[in-house]
């Protein structure tokens, strides 16, 4: 039994159909429970109630980056092994990633307004997220623009590879350009820098919730793409008759 069996669309449809209800249920439970738990946490002595925004901001930011990584991996699989499901999964993931990036940016801006006294600061982390958002937009626009599905998959995969390198490059270039206001990693392993457990556990829960939400959306969207592809293939076959 190998992972490549799921490259078969029929097999993928069957398995994803079986997994999907669990992913949906898990996503709903974890996200809702995590956010409610987050709401019940005490106020932070410095940030007041705004600390609750972290339960949206951090998971969204985490997913924004990891979805791009997942797209990079699936693009590579498409380029190397030519499995259509892989390319379609990358296509299906992009809008979710763009929305996650947008959520991270918006919640960050709303949080920054009272805390830093500004909606937007050209801080390295914020700026690199904006650039990541632009990459998502370009990627999705390219999928829309190319008509031949295989060419579209190839071109977007190449763009994803090049874009990954440049997104990373930009991430460190902006460090050079401006020292940031943004706090360091909230979940650093170094003792003392870590946030209090009372905030940490609900945060873990919402992170799991957002991850499962992404999995559920990804499965549904990939299934949509497979069905569309199949319909197009059927129509093309009829045209030829």
């Amino acid at each position: 039994m190998s992972i490549w069996e799921y490259a078969n669309p029929v097999k993928f449809m069957r398995t994803s159909g079986a997994v999907l209800p669990w992913a949906v249920a898990g996503a709903a439970i974890c996200t809702v429970a995590g956010l409610v738990w987050g709401f019940l946490t005490p106020l932070d002595y410095k940030q007041g109630a705004t600390v609750k925004i972290i339960f949206l901001h951090v998971p969204a930011a985490l997913m924004a980056i990891n979805i791009w990584l997942m797209m990079l991996v699936t693009s590579l699989i498409w380029l190397i092994r030519r499995h259509h499901v892989s390319a379609l999964a990358a296509k299906a993931a992009a809008p979710v990633g763009a929305v996650m990036t947008l959520i991270a940016l918006i919640t960050g801006a709303i949080w920054g307004q009272p805390m830093w006294g500004t909606w937007w600061e050209w801080d390295p982390r914020l700026t690199s997220f904006l650039i990541l958002f632009l990459f998502y937009l370009g990627y999705m626009a390219l999928w829309e623009a190319v008509e031949n599905p295989d060419s579209a998959a190839d071109l977007t995969s190449v763009l994803c590879l090049v874009g990954s390198v440049f997104a990373l490059l930009s991430r460190y270039a902006v460090n050079f350009w401006n020292q940031g206001l943004h706090q360091g990693a909230s979940l650093s392993l170094a003792p003392g820098e870590r946030m209090a457990a009372v905030y940490r556990y609900p945060l873990y829960l919402t992170m799991a919730g957002f991850f499962l939400l992404f999995v559920a959306l990804l499965l549904i969207r990939t299934r949509t793409e497979i069905r569309r592809r199949r319909l197009a293939a059927l129509l093309a076959r009829e045209m030829r008759k």
């Binding site: 390219l142 060419s151 490059l169 050079f176 350009w177």
Partner: protein, 218 residues
């Protein structure tokens, strides 16, 4: 290879090839900015490095679609793809031709516009150096964007969306070098990073561009 380079140069410089259009665009951008921000010299000299870099970058973008579009339409790109010269090499040559007809004139022209924008005098050598080091990367990345969008209707707009985010690191280090030069700080660090990015781009991006071209020629 040399023949291809000469051909591209001739095509670009003859009438209607769009040569000089980028320079005119660069001039217009640098003329418009003072209208937008006001004529006060101190303010202009502070933002001059950024304007010159952004202007050069946009001017570079203007002529990118010409790199492959005409050759794609008349079929010579198919010939190039089947020629003994590797497509990667052809892409690099075409990017070089674009740089010689767009990037190099921009570099030479930039100090004149620097005068218009009150760029502080110690910054001039750094302006030249950073543009000379940075614009080859702009041309090469542009060739990648042009290769990806070559077969598309209305590819020009999409190409801007794809290419501009790729220009971010070059812009950051390039403008930073000029800014440091203007304020008397040491700009060498920025220049080294800029050169590193350009060299990396020149070495690797032709492969991605050639791959994209092969897909579009399929």
């Amino acid at each position: 290879m040399k023949a291809l380079l000469m051909r591209d140069l001739r095509l670009a410089t003859r009438a209607g090839g769009g040569f000089g259009l980028a320079l005119a665009f660069f001039l217009i951008v640098c003329t418009l900015v003072p209208f937008g921000v006001g004529p006060e010299g101190g303010q202009l000299s502070r933002i001059a490095p950024g304007i010159l870099w952004v202007g050069a970058l946009l001017a570079c973008l203007l002529s990118l679609d010409r790199i492959f579009a005409l050759d794609f339409e008349d079929g010579s790109l198919d010939l190039l793809a089947t020629a003994p010269l590797p497509l990667e090499g052809a892409v690099a040559i075409k990017a070089l031709a674009h740089w010689l007809t767009t990037g190099l004139p921009l570099v030479i022209f930039a100090p004149v516009l620097g005068v218009l924008l009150h760029l502080p005098s110690p910054a001039y050598p750094w302006l030249l150096a950073s543009l000379a080091l940075g614009t080859p990367a702009l041309s090469m990345l542009g060739a990648f964007g042009a290769a990806v969008t070559v077969g598309l209707r209305r590819g020009g707009l999409l190409m801007s969306l794809l290419v501009l985010p790729l220009y971010v690191p070059t812009l950051i280090f390039g403008a930073e070098a000029v800014r440091r030069g203007a304020s008397g700080a040491d700009p060498v660090t920025s220049l080294v990073f800029l050169a590193a990015i350009t060299l990396g781009v020149l070495a690797l991006v032709p492969f991605a561009s050639a791959a994209a071209l092969r897909v579009n020629l399929r």
